[in-house]
Amino acid sequence: MRYVERSTGTPLCAASTRSSLDNRTGSWRFARPVFVDRVSPCSQRCPAGEDVAGTLYLAGQGRYEDAWRLIMRENPFPAIMGRVCYHTCERSCNRVEHDEAVSIHCIERFLGDLALERDLRVGPLPEPSGKTAALVGAGPAGLSAAYFLRRLGHDTTVYDDMDRPGGLMRYGIPAYRLPLDVLDGEIGRLERMGIRFETGRTLGGDLDLDSLTAEHDAVFLAIGAHGERRLGLEGEDLRGVYRALGFLERVAEGDFPPAGRRVAVIGGGNSALDCARVSRRLGAEVAVYYRRSEAEMPAHAEEVAAARDEGVSFELLCAPAAILGESAVTGVRFSRMRLGRPDATGRCRPEPTGEEFEAECSAVILATGEFPDPELVPAEVCGPGGATQVDGFGRTRLDKLFAGGDLAPIQRTVTHAVGSGKRAAAAMDAFMRGTGPDRVETLFRWGPEGNVTLDLPGEAALFPRRNPEAQVVGYHALNPFYFERRPALEAVWVPPQDRLAGFEEVVRGADEEAVLREARRCFNCGSCTDCGNCFVFCPDVSIRKEPGGFGYEVNLDYCKGCGICVQECPRGAMTLSYPEGDA
């Protein structure tokens, strides 16, 4: 050293003569910091198991195409999801405890639309497996299963009895919520991947389950729930009485049913509100009649609010007693209800008060629920209420036969159907390859909801998961000091008075700047984003860059286990472990 006093041999400042690397302070350690990939609550709650933390990280870097690809690992329909998914993710977002939930759906829609605009394709397909799979039903479950099976290398054919694929996404969801070009764009992408579509083929008609099973290595049944529940009401068959799905299907085909000036919609689910909002667009005055109170309505609150904005009135605590009219509907007689004790679903059971009233109307739409048609599935797999009995991966008791979507007992949303198709695809892949359930080793389970991530070629590297742990990160596990409080991006709605002229989309897409800002609001709970806080705070210079470039590693030769890195990790992606013996 130059700063050594020759006369005394003393350095100017007390400094070790040997490298301080000789002192392996790691031997002092009894606790060890570990990088973990934990589950964010949004991903846990996502019925399709999307990697929201990773997607929003990539989007926040302006890497929109990569963000889109990360969604495509879990869900083939980002543009559709950004519009119709009821985003359970946002309700569980940790940001709720900080300021407001991240507006995940706005970002997803932006990414989906960007991919359509740029005509993005998913990565190359693997070597053909030589196996063929048949998917019956071209709704979200069948299409999702077909997509994932195709990406796993299988030959896939989707059968459907309608003229065009899409199922309820095409024939049940009105175009003002899901425009046709978006739907066609995302389904068209599946066609270009080599998925065959055989439309106009009816199960039980020109399509026979036995021969399908004989011709293919696996069959997935996802024919939905189209059985109509008769209410046993007087006048149920009068002219002007419609069933919700039939009504919406005719509207989707441009064959607007004559409904007259005053429409009564009976039911409180999302289909009821779709029928009500469509009827407003057809020029009718519309009232929704529901037998419980608003709190019990199964419809999403956002749908209820939109319907109100569009002039739909709500008549609560009333159940139809009779539909009135000679040959055509002229009105409905309702029983006034009150709420009684909670039933099996936890909602209060409606009880008649004995009071009745009549409402005039020119049409009645019954939106009181549908059930799977038990005629169309083998009796051995048919369970209570007509639902097909399956395990968590869509496996039925029958060899080769898998089922999912609304046919199975799941929540009836598009996203749940996509998740159901994805899980079935994983099980079908394992079955066809003869690897047994162990093939699920390629799957990565996301927390207790049972969602799976498929290990699709290429995409895992977009946001590496090094040490996954099936533990959900709560707000308390984060370091909120690092996150400034800012309001969420709000979706912009077309003003109600401008909506009723037609079926134009009612929610506008967000622009790039707003999306980028919103994506950066994401805490990325439980995921390392390479922020470098651990590196900055380590007093022992014992955190170093991961050789691959993204993320950090702990140098255990010197780490004393003080835990500062864990404390300062903004997003709960580190933990202190206390191993027995050597830490």
């Binding site: 050293m1 130059r2 700063y3 006093e5 005394t8 003393t10 350095p11 100017l12 400042c13 007390a14 400094a15 070790s16 003569t17 040997r18 490298s19 301080s20 690397l21 002192n23 210079v541």
Partner: protein, 394 residues
């Protein structure tokens, strides 16, 4: 370039010109506008430095010690209580031989709270091993800050640049901002040589040493403080030659025939210049000595300036309770070795604490009282204190 700058802005301009690489500071009045100006400069993209926001002055100084150990030219600024909180790390910095520069804007200590000027904060850091340079005007503040880096890096000792709260920090004066190229030639980039935290060859600095070695490190600090007396003068001269502005550790004014020499520091000297002129016009034989360095204490030039003078009146804008003003103690110690015939009597006047004004009238009072007395009225005489002891306590 000539600009109208406050003392604090002058510090910030000097820091920018010096090419400082790391700034860490915690806001405290009256220092705050130094780091605000620096933060603003950084926000405008001027100056390539890291600005570390910290949770206290103790951390601020710790952070720049780390930065300096890592080989960066580093700077911090503080005042009053902030400097008191830094005290532990002030000792550490000199012991670790980090060539930091700290701008201290003198602020009186609490309690009771005061944000105004006196020197108690800096003089009470006398034993920390820091070089302390006191400034009279805003130009001197800018120039001294630049020189401080050169002095610190030549000696591997930290330097405190001291300026008076509000009289300098918040008062604007025309200031000449030197040309960056000239500054670069005067003050080349910091070369830590081999005394720095090299990640390729990490060493432990400042760790424990046994009794058989500790004294040697203290001796080295003391030896280099002695060397500093020459180095500071050398840097003053190098600066004067390049920029045409000359500074010295001890400056004299009209002392040749003076019967009373008033010794003062900081902005008090600028008032002193006016007072000397006015009293001289009235035939009073007053002289003045301005001292710029408290540590190392420039004993030789002080002796040279005061040898054979009859009376020296020290104006101390500080007090060491139980003794007297700190400058008076220093002067007395320096003059002790003079023979009786050449040793002046030293009168100590405590004035201007907590920002109270020291005016031309103060100088007049100091001059008159000193000329009238054969010997000091007391060890320390407090100017203008409104306090009467109760009868019973007398």
């Amino acid at each position: 370039m000539r600009k109208v700058l406050t003392g604090n802005q002058a510090v910030a301009h000097a820091v920018l010109l010096a090419g400082v690489q790391v700034v860490a500071a915690y806001p405290i009045t009256p220092q705050t506008s130094i780091i605000e100006t620096l933060a603003g400069m950084q926000a405008e993209g001027r100056g390539d430095f890291e600005f570390i926001r910290v949770e206290s002055e103790h951390s601020a100084l710790s952070a720049v010690i780390g930065a300096s150990m890592g080989g960066a030219r580093a700077f911090t600024a503080t005042s009053g209580q902030g400097l008191f909180l830094m005290h532990e790390m002030l000792h550490y910095a000199s012991g670790a031989r980090v060539p930091l520069v700290l701008a201290n804007v003198n602020r009186a200590g609490a309690a009771p709270w005061s944000i105004w000027s006196d020197q108690t904060d800096s003089v009470s850091q006398r034993e920390t091993g820091w070089i302390q340079l006191y400034c009279e005007g805003n130009q001197e503040v800018l120039d001294t800050t630049l020189m401080a880096f050169k002095i610190a890096e030549s000696l591997r000792l930290p330097v405190m640049v001291v300026s008076d709260a509000f009289f300098l920090s918040h008062t604007s004066e025309p200031v000449e901002i030197p040309d960056p190229g000239e500054v670069g030639a005067f003050l080349p980039p910091f070369d830590p040589q081999d005394l720095w935290l090299d990640p390729e060859d990490p060493r432990t600095f400042g760790s424990i040493v046994m009794p058989d070695a500790y004294m040697e490190f203290r001796w080295l600090v003391q030896r280099d403080m002695e060397r500093a007396k020459t180095v500071v003068t050398g840097v003053h001269e190098a600066f004067g030659r390049r920029f045409g502005r000359w500074y010295s550790q001890v400056e004299t004014l009209e002392t040749r025939d003076a019967d009373v020499v008033v010794l003062c520091t900081g902005t008090v000297a600028s008032t002193g210049r006016v007072a000397v002129e006015r009293l001289r016009e009235r035939g009073k034989r007053i002289g003045m000595v301005k001292v710029k360095t408290l540590r190392p204490f420039p004993a030789a030039p002080v002796i040279e300036a005061l040898r054979g003078k009859g009376k020296v009146a020290v104006i101390d804008r500080n007090v060491s309770p139980g003794a007297q003003g700190v400058w008076a103690q220093e002067i007395k110690a320096a003059l002790y070795d003079l023979p009786d015939t050449e040793r002046p009597a030293v009168f100590d006047y405590i004035a201007g604490l907590g920002g109270r004004d020291i005016s031309v009238a103060t100088f007049e009072e100091v001059y008159e009282r000193t000329s009238a007395a054969d010997r000091p009225e007391d060890l320390d005489v407090w100017i203008g204190v409104h306090y009467a002891e109760p009868e019973s306590a007398v």
